[in-house]
Amino acid sequence: MTAAKTLIIGIGNPYRGDDALGCLVARGLATKATSEVSCVEHDGEPASLIDCWQHMERVFLIDAVSSKAEPGHIFRINLTQQVLPEEFNLYSTHAFGIPQAIELARVLGKLPPNIHFYGVEGLSFAAGQSLSAQVETAKHQVIIEIMNILEIKENHEQTQGA
């Protein structure tokens, strides 16, 4: 465990197929992380999103994306250095969503010193469905990657049960 103030933010709608990806990653990591790592599920509302990562040194944002890439493809973006691509189609309420929240926070000096985005290309966002097989596989991979970055020790079998 290296980070003193780390926040995992899983964004999405747990009832809309692959859109649940962010929430499920946050839940999976919550069962493994130490008390120095917080995990939250978030609906993506911009003002509260900016608020929730204040005073955090490191933030991982996880969300499903729809960019016409192969379902299950994992995008890794260092938001400290890059902006979210427009083709991700991160849906928002009233034309003001996650990409705008990130860029507004950047302008206002409210972006954490380290913030990384994990986006997983979704296959289906239909209501009432579970994750597609491709996104289910990607979910485990994202969890393992973040655990490795945070040096959280655990065997593979437990991770599969996340």
Binding site: I50, H94, F96, L104, V107
Partner: protein, 439 residues
């Protein structure tokens, strides 16, 4: 925003906005100009229809609030409240006392959150010459910061009363599933006192903006209540003599299908006239019910007893934010916890009607239910459907004031004129892209 400009002939201009920015949902604008004469304006809404009334059929009367809240991510409280009031109306019940006050508190949260988003993030950049709030924040960080702080308090109210900020789940027929604790309300009150200062500053700041001269003789339609600025209750009143109960709505207003739009246009009968709902209508019809200090703040910011310039709607929204914050504090200060979080309400075969004031204006719900409480049919008329024809009428007149400008400038100004209404296209299909055709 994306768009293109082309001319079919030397004196023909075609301006097309394929996707209007800083509005909710997908729509477009088409302008046909012959020389310096505007021949046609079409507000095209191509967001797919969503058939909510259809999927409500044969669902339980208790489910309508949670289903209809899904129509809009920014004003779900309005949908919940209209659904709940309509069902209670069908069942012959009225919820009064502290539960009624808490419903008003819930609505205050949505007005603060929705209006603040539009004022600071979507509308203000128009008046300061920025393409977005992000660009505006580079030069006016403290202004945008103020907007974020105000929005946050609105979100907090929605979360406390609704269980979560988006698509809340705590409101029900008869009241709420869970009541707020005294400690939660006390904490909220403390933050509302700070929000009140921010809201006063917002009214003052919006009054310093520069607006195009474009006053119109609007027919304003809003709820009116003798004792309070309306949110959940009142008669449907216009500034031109209408005064009806919610149950009479369909006798005076009619939704019409227009070929170029997936959203129905609602018109006033007879004569299929356009009318204006939303903050300017509420303000004009209910100015007298505002507390004196808010009337004074509005007048200091440049408003009269009514505002007829849609570009100044940003000031009116700021006044309503100030009112909602002030009203939330009043409700908390006078609150006594009810004995039960909800009253039990039994269904009966009847038709129920309700109109409440969503941030964007009148929201009408009508449900017919059977003895078992199953929904036989439903009708929902959102504010953006009602304002669509008004927006087109505004554009028809506004384009004439700038018709000699280059197409790019017309396009920019028309988008501003549309944003005056804070249209919610997703609600209306429950709508924007511009094309100007110059001939």
């Amino acid at each position: 925003m994306s768009g293109d400009t082309s001319g079919k002939q030397k004196d023909t201009r075609t301006i097309k906005v394929d996707y209007l920015a800083r509005v909710e949902g997908e729509g477009a604008l088409y302008l046909k100009i012959q020389g310096n004469t505007l021949e046609e304006v079409k507000l095209k809404i191509f967001e797919p229809p969503r058939f909510f009334e259809g999927l409500l059929r044969e669902r339980k009367f208790t489910e309508a609030a949670d289903i209809t809240s899904r129509i809009c991510g920014i004003c779900p409280v309005a949908y919940q409240m209209s659904a709940i009031h309509a069902m209670e109306n069908a069942c012959g019940a009225r919820v009064m006392g502290s539960l009624r006050e808490l419903r008003r508190l819930f609505y205050c949260g949505e007005w603060i959150s929705s209006h603040t988003l539009h004022i600071y993030m979507l509308h203000a950049p128009d008046f300061l010459g920025y393409p977005s709030a992000i660009e505006m924040a580079k030069d006016f960080p403290e202004v945008v910061e103020r907007g974020l702080q105000l929005k946050k308090i609105g979100n907090e109210i929605m979360k406390l009363m609704g269980g979560r900020e988006i698509h809340p789940i705590n409101a029900r027929i008869g009241g709420f599933y869970r009541l707020p604790s005294p400690e939660e309300l006390a904490g909220l009150r403390e933050r509302l006192m700070h929000a009140r200062d921010l809201a006063f500053e917002t009214v003052k700041w919006t009054g310093t903006l520069t607006f195009p001269q474009f006053s119109q003789d609007y027919t304003f339609v809003a709820l009116h209540h003798p004792d309070e600025y309306p949110m959940n209750e009142g008669r449907i009143v216009s500034n031109k003599g209408l005064d009806i109960d919610a149950s009479e709505f369909e006798a005076h207003f009619e939704e019409q299908h227009v070929e170029h739009s997936n959203a129905l246009h609602c018109v006033m009968k007879p004569g299929d006239k356009s009318y204006h709902v939303g903050p300017m209508a509420r303000y004009a019809i209910n100015f007298d019910t505002l507390p004196d200090e808010i009337k004074q703040a509005a007048q200091a910011a440049g408003l009269g007893r009514a505002c007829y310039n849609p570009f100044q709607s940003i000031i009116v929204r700021a006044v309503e934010v100030l009112y909602a914050v002030t009203e939330a504090i009043r409700i908390i200060d006078s609150y006594t916890a009810p004995k039960h979080s909800a009253v039990d309400i039994k269904p009966r075969a009847a038709t129920g009607f309700a109109v409440t004031e969503a941030p964007r204006g009148l929201l009408y719900h009508r449900y017919k239910i059977d003895d078992h409480g199953l929904i036989e049919n439903a009708n929902i008329v959102p504010p953006t459907s009602q304002n669509q024809k008004m927006i087109q009428d505004d554009l028809s007149r506004f384009v004439l004031t700038c018709i000699e400008q280059p197409d790019e400038k017309i396009q920019y100004l028309c988008e501003q004129a549309i944003r005056n209404y804070d249209p919610c296209i997703s609600c209306a299909t429950h709508f924007l892209k511009l094309k100007v055709d110059r001939q």
